[in-house]
Amino acid sequence: MSSEKTDKEYCKCSEANCYCDKAQYNEAEDWERAQLLTHLDKCPKCKDYSERNKKLTELCNKAKLTSLQEEERLELKRLLQENLEK
């Protein structure tokens, strides 16, 4: 009985990676986090991915990346187009 429960809780690597990605955006449900942690205890490959993934998130936050909004981008395109036609 107990081992059946464990099997159900132990998700596939692809699922664990997906939960790990969702967790980077705070979008993993509690049960997904729980399954991820259980999986990471037993899977060194996914643990490695999880650590790299966390580092990547830290780097993205540290870089304070920002981008233009769609309207701003369109405005720039219009400006370029007008001046290309001159």
Binding site: R52, K62, K64, L80
Partner: protein, 201 residues
């Protein structure tokens, strides 16, 4: 001998064509605006000013595109123009304050077309070491995003940089949330691989 010379000339032409960068203003906004915007915003710390500087950079690029020799990449060339625009911006501020402290060699508007296709060795003074690291890091992330699948890069940017909701991105691309997470996973894996050597070890 004649045949050898003909082959040599043909190969030389091919080599030069392959190693000369092309200019394509139609792609500038899609390909470089985010990179240039990040470059500018960390230096002027103001979104509106950064946007104006990008507009000025693109217009100056258009005016002087005939001088683009293709020795550097388009992006490097545009960055070199942006750098001058940033210096001009600070020069104007300083002259308004009566403290023209920024020394530059190319202040004449007529020289606009003579921008050097210089390698981007950023000599601009930064106030803190952190800023330098962050600039370099931001550039590294954008460099790597340029190398991965463009659709994956766009979705990654929307999710990670612009913080769009999953639902909004799914609607825009006509994909399911499961598809989105697969794409995010591929983008993150490719990005981590690209940044591994310098930033993730």
């Amino acid at each position: 001998m004649l045949k050898f010379l003909r082959n040599f000339t043909a190969n030389l032409r091919l080599f030069m064509a392959e190693n000369t960068h092309q200019i394509n203003p139609d792609r500038w906004v899609d390909d470089y605006s985010d990179y240039l915007f990040n470059y500018a915003i960390v230096r002027v710390n103001d979104r509106e000013i950064a946007k104006d500087l990008i507009s000025e950079t693109f217009l100056a690029g258009l005016r002087s595109k005939k001088y683009f020799k293709g020795e550097a990449t388009e992006r490097t060339w545009l960055i070199s123009i942006l750098k001058r625009k940033i210096i001009d911006h600070y020069r104007k501020i300083n002259s308004k304050k009566g403290q023209a402290e920024v020394k530059i060699n190319y202040t004449d508007e007529d020289q606009e077309g003579e921008w050097l296709e210089e390698k981007v060795a950023d000599n601009f003074e930064q106030s803190a070491e952190d800023n330098l690291v962050n600039n370099e890091l931001g550039a590294a992330i954008y460099d790597c995003l340029d190398k991965i699948n463009p659709k994956h890069a766009k979705i990654f940017k929307m999710k990670t940089i612009d913080n769009f909701d999953t639902e909004v991105i799914c609607n825009e691309f006509g994909i399911t949330p499961s598809n989105l997470w697969v794409i995010i996973h591929r983008a993150r894996t490719a990005l981590a691989e690209c940044m591994e050597e310098k930033w993730l070890k």
